[in-house]
């Protein structure tokens, strides 16, 4: 370094070779140290995309660590070396710059960012490369959609399982048989599936983020966006499985990390891992509560057993009792009620909307002149007609029987009338104590079950049918 300095001793400003060597070792160590931060810093690595991205992150941290240490070592060195002694009123060395040095510290960063740009581009290309055979289930692609609505995620699955034809119905030449579709508030996939989600929003901008997958994509009004990821098994394994009643049970870390064959030998088949789907674009007052669960099953077999076959079965074989139907509908997560309401019997803990505990007892008293069933139906179909004091209007999504709203805009969620009847019947049984009332909502119960299923359905349908005129039928 050739620094012109008329007024000072050269040794004061130009470091020796040894100092330089120590300095280089220190900054290299700093870089390595910071790149180790990636182990505390990154969540589970649950997709191929995560694997690629994390390699890049380590490199970024390494370079970042070198720059950080470089600047701080220079700063700290200067602070001690060049501090003015007490009563020293003199000035420092008089030099204005050094062209060589300035060229060096322009070119080196330029080269570094050029290399980073190339490497980032490479990772980006690998991560967004379209995969063949997306969303394979039973050897065929199904359509998976993510729908964002304030403040919940809904996932739609259009399967290839044919619906039974109604009596007398025939298919024209080349016409495809109608297939089973179902919705869930949970996203299910399995290790080895190439996931491709078509995403759209019903209201404001949302953003689909799975931290464990390192993917994020906004859902924009008026557009369909797309996100792809390829789940892999993580070091943590699969920490959950369903017991014979379909209830999720947690496994020990050792059980979670067993290979599929070993686990099967111990009777621990069909395990899965659960990650968070998070909304990362501010969407309103319940933004922080807008999340869903992403289930990664250990293989396709587990996916079918734990999720897919159950859902298809429920569509093909609905229970007759509307209370049981309602319980299953709400449990399936087809509707996003859980994000905003409390309902202890379902384990809901949302706070944006009023609690539904004991709603079966309160419903009849809420609005003068409305029966309990009328109140519940109105609250679901037209949520802003009556807003419980202390809660904001305009927060709850709209539900209609069809895709077309009264004004013609497809701005709300489909809800078949049968689901509405089932949900009302189920909510009627919700009491503070937990035991269904004898005469909840004017429906006749004995020992906690409906006395006459058909009469109860007819009683509720008499109310819900009034909404057919408003929304049309399904």
């Amino acid at each position: 370094m050739d620094i012109p300095q008329p007024n000072t001793h050269r040794s004061n400003v130009v470091p020796s070779i040894l100092t330089l060597a120590i300095f280089l070792v220190i900054i290299a160590l700093g870089g390595v140290a910071l790149s180790q931060l990636s182990w505390v810093f990154l969540p589970a690595q649950a997709s191929l995309q995560a694997r690629n991205t994390d390699g890049l992150v380590q490199l970024l941290l390494l370079i970042g660590g070198i720059v950080f240490t470089l600047v701080h070592v220079l700063l700290i060195y200067s602070i001690f070396k060049f501090r003015a002694k007490a009563n020293d009123t003199s000035d420092g060395a008089h030099f204005h710059g050094n062209t060589t040095l300035e060229v060096v510290w322009t070119i080196i960063p330029a080269v570094v960012v050029a290399v980073l740009a190339v490497l980032s581009y490479d990772v980006w290309v690998r991560n967004s490369q379209p995969q063949e055979q997306v969303n394979f289930v039973n050897g065929e692609s199904i359509t998976m959609r993510a729908i964002g609505a304030r403040y919940a995620w809904t996932f739609e699955y259009d399967t290839n399982v044919p619906l039974p034809l109604e009596e007398g119905q025939t298919l024209a030449e080349g016409e495809k048989a109608p297939t089973v579709s179902f919705v869930s508030s949970q996203l299910h996939t399995y290790v080895g599936q190439h996931v491709k989600l078509e995403m759209s929003t019903r209201d404001v901008i949302h953003s689909f983020w799975v931290p464990a997958m390192r993917v994020k994509q906004d859902l924009l009004p008026g557009r369909v966006s797309e996100v792809r990821f390829d789940p892999i098994a993580t070091a943590g394994g699969f920490p959950y499985r369903l017991d014979e009643n379909g209830v999720r049970v947690a496994l020990t870390p050792e059980q979670a990390q067993l290979s599929t064959e070993e686990a099967k030998a111990q009777g621990l088949d069909n395990r899965f891992a659960v990650y968070r789907v998070v909304c990362t674009e501010l969407c309103g007052s319940g933004h922080g509560e807008m999340y869903a669960e992403l289930f990664v099953h250990e293989n396709e077999e587990a996916y079918l057993a734990n999720f897919f076959d159950r859902q298809v079965f429920a569509v093909l074989n609905p229970p007759d009792d509307p209370v049981q139907q309602g319980r299953l509908v709400l449990q399936s997560g087809a509707y996003p009620c859980a994000n905003c309401h409390i309902l202890s019997s379902q384990g809901w803990v949302g706070v944006t909307g009023p609690s539904l505990n004991g709603i079966g007892q309160r419903a009849a008293r809420r609005v003068g002149g409305q029966s309990a069933i009328e109140y519940l139906a109105t609250s679901i179909m037209l949520p802003n007609e009556y807003v419980v004091p202390g809660y904001a209007a305009g927060q709850m999504p709209h539900f209609g029987f069809s895709d077309t709203s009264p004004t013609g805009a497809a701005s709300y969620n489909r809800m078949p009338e049968s689901d509405l009847i089932a949900i009302i019947a189920y909510l009627c049984t919700q009491t503070e104590s937990g035991d269904p009332a004898e005469n909840a909502c004017g429906l006749e119960f004995a020992d906690g079950t409906l006395v006459d299923i058909d009469a109860a359905k007819a009683q509720i349908e008499a109310v819900t049918s009034t909404y057919r005129a408003l929304f049309g039928t399904e």
Binding site: I79, F82, D91, E102, T106, R214, P221, L282, G284
Partner: protein, 572 residues
């Protein structure tokens, strides 16, 4: 070496006092009055914005919503916090430094358009009140970025007031910037070429170019937003043929350059403070000046890196490249500043501590900025606490540290009194560590999975959030220390004299505070604004002391200002 230039004047001039309070509360076209008006207004809004930030951190002590009444009130908190801090604190505060210091540094008697200058300031108080009024009409809940359709179809009338307020503030910025450009290009003394201009003035010049080019785009975007809200149009309503990305593009076309509006003047302050307090010429003057211009230029080509998760995928890569390129001129500045203190005789004044703190913290913001530019990493970090951390390292670790450095550096010029150095050191220590532990852990919690702008978060992030909140309370307290220091020193601080730091730029070649006409005679700038370490410079500084006297603070009655004529050479 060139001839010694001496400011004209013979004997110590009488001590001057600041104008009365009433002057500051009324219309004045004196740039120094306006500068103080800007500064005090901005500081008031800083306290308001800070209180809102502490309320945010209080809410985030627990993973559930328990302090705020509902999610909307929480959303208002950070929306107004962000808007106040950016539009009513950082930008006007740099306006304060620009207004007060720039004409003095250029040896001018005032700005080019004094009336316009006053008008630009008086747009700010009503705009600020309008922004806070949102609290009383409801729901300014779309964040400072105000993305439609949340800000158009789903928010309350506070959002309309917000847009009008920002509109007014933008107009104020544009008027101020035009004034700065005209002043800088026309009102320098004949003996000061543009390459002899102090770097703070260079920074203001670069900033002003950005303001006049970028801010009209904000005005356009806000006009469309207001029309959508109150005029029934559908620019951003997708159901009626509008497009939400239109807002994002136009908003960020302003708001990314706005980041440089908010940091370049701070870099200018840093160049002044580092050079003066380490008694050394600035390292690479031209490169620092030109890199400001490079940042201003490249800053216009990077806006869509805020939209990596919404933009068409094939457009993301070009913006990644431009964003990475902008790290180069920033790096040049950082290394030049280190070169500046290298070989100096560093005085650890409070101003210097904050300038060094800037170097230490801003570099972290720069590193995380390059990381965020990498598209695959951005997918993980976008709209999470990592981003919150990044821009606080830039805007607090950068801009606010620079503002503090500038406050300690120029407060003596404005008031004629020194700030208390012991309180200054306390302030620095509390700020530095409070800041680091508030914002550094946010990187981690963000990447682990915590989005920004949430009141409710996953329970596993509670510990980190507690740490962040407690550190933020320390940071909040540190602000009270500097406010206390400013108030107490105003009455009881040591008398500063004309040139307490023995600095070469022209604002020090007049009394503190300067007379209404700034200079008793036409000042003669020293040939090199950072030419420390030469006999010529020492002679020039001694001449200033001889002309204006150095304060006699030896007696016990430090509160009675006395000036004694200096007997040259008066080293202090």
């Amino acid at each position: 070496m060139a001839t010694i230039s001496v400011p004209i004047g013979q004997t110590a001039v009488p001590n001057r006092k600041m104008p009365s309070l009433a002057t500051y509360l009324s219309w004045s076209i004196d740039h120094k009055i306006i500068g103080v008006q800007y500064g005090v207004t901005a500081l008031l809004f800083f306290l308001i914005g800070g209180a809102l930030a502490l309320a945010i951190r209080w809410e985030l002590l627990t993973p559930t919503l328990d302090v705020m009444a509902d999610g909307t009130s929480y959303n208002q908190l950070f929306s107004i916090h962000g808007s106040v801090m950016l539009f009513l604190w950082v930008i006007p505060m740099f306006g304060a430094f620009g207004n007060y210091i720039l004409p003095l540094q250029l040896g001018a008697k005032d700005m080019a358009f004094p009336w316009l200058n006053a008008f630009a300031f008086w747009l700010i108080p009503p705009a600020g009140i309008m922004m806070l009024m949102g609290y009383f009409v409801g729901q300014t809940e779309a964040g400072w970025t105000s993305y439609p359709p949340l800000s158009t179809l789903f928010s309350g009338d506070g959002q309309t007031l917000w847009a009008m307020s920002v509109h007014l503030l933008g107009a104020s910025s544009i008027l101020g910037a035009i004034n700065f450009i005209v002043t800088i290009l026309n009102m320098r003394p004949e003996s000061m070429s543009i390459w002899q201009m102090p770097l703070f003035s260079w920074a203001i010049l670069a900033t002003s170019f950005i303001v006049v080019m970028a801010t009209p785009f904000l005005a356009g975007a806000l006009t469309l937003l207001l029309l959508d809200r109150v005029g029934g149009t559908a620019f951003f309503d997708a159901t009626r043929g509008g497009d939400v990305l239109l807002w994002q593009n136009v908003f960020w076309f302003y708001s990314h350059p706005a980041v440089y509006i908010m940091v370049l003047p701070g870099m200018g302050i840093l160049s002044e403070v580092l050079s003066v307090h380490s008694r050394k010429p600035i390292f690479g003057y031209r490169m620092i000046a030109l890199s400001s211009m490079a940042i201003a230029g490249i800053g216009f080509t990077v806006w869509a890196h805020h939209m990596f998760t919404s933009l068409q995928p094939e457009l993301r890569i070009p913006f990644m490249i431009t964003t990475m390129i902008i790290a180069v001129p920033t790096g040049i500045k950082i290394f030049s500043w280190i070169g500046t203190i290298w070989g100096g005789k560093i005085r650890f004044t409070s101003a210097m501590l904050f300038a060094l703190g800037f170097l230490s913290m801003f570099v972290i913001g720069g590193i995380s900025g390059v990381m965020l530019a990498a598209v695959p990493f951005n997918y993980q970090a976008h709209d999470t606490y990592f981003v919150v951390s990044h821009f606080h390292f830039v805007l607090f670790g950068g801009s606010v540290f620079a503002i503090y450095a500038g406050l300690y550096h120029w407060y003596p010029k404005v008031t004629g009194r020194m700030l208390d150095e012991r309180l200054g050191r306390l302030h620095f220590v509390l700020t530095y560590f409070g800041f680091f532990f508030t914002f550094f852990p946010m990187h981690i919690v963000g990447i682990l999975g915590m989005p920004r702008r949430v009141a409710v978060y996953a329970p596993e992030f509670t510990d980190l959030n507690r740490l962040i909140s407690f550190a933020s309370f320390v940071l909040g307290f540190s602000t009270l220390v500097v406010i206390y220091n400013m108030v107490v020193s105003f009455y009881r601080g040591r008398v500063a004299g004309a040139n307490p730091w023995r600095a070469l730029t022209l604002e020090w070649a007049t009394t503190s505070p300067p007379p209404a006409w700034n200079f008793d005679d036409d000042p003669v700038p020293f040939e090199d604004p950072y030419g420390y370490g030469t006999e010529a410079a020492a002679a020039y500084l001694d001449a200033i002391d001889a002309t204006f006297g150095v304060p006699d603070n030896t007696g016990s009655a430090a509160s009675t200002p006395r000036l004694r004529p200096a007997t040259a050479p008066a080293g202090d």
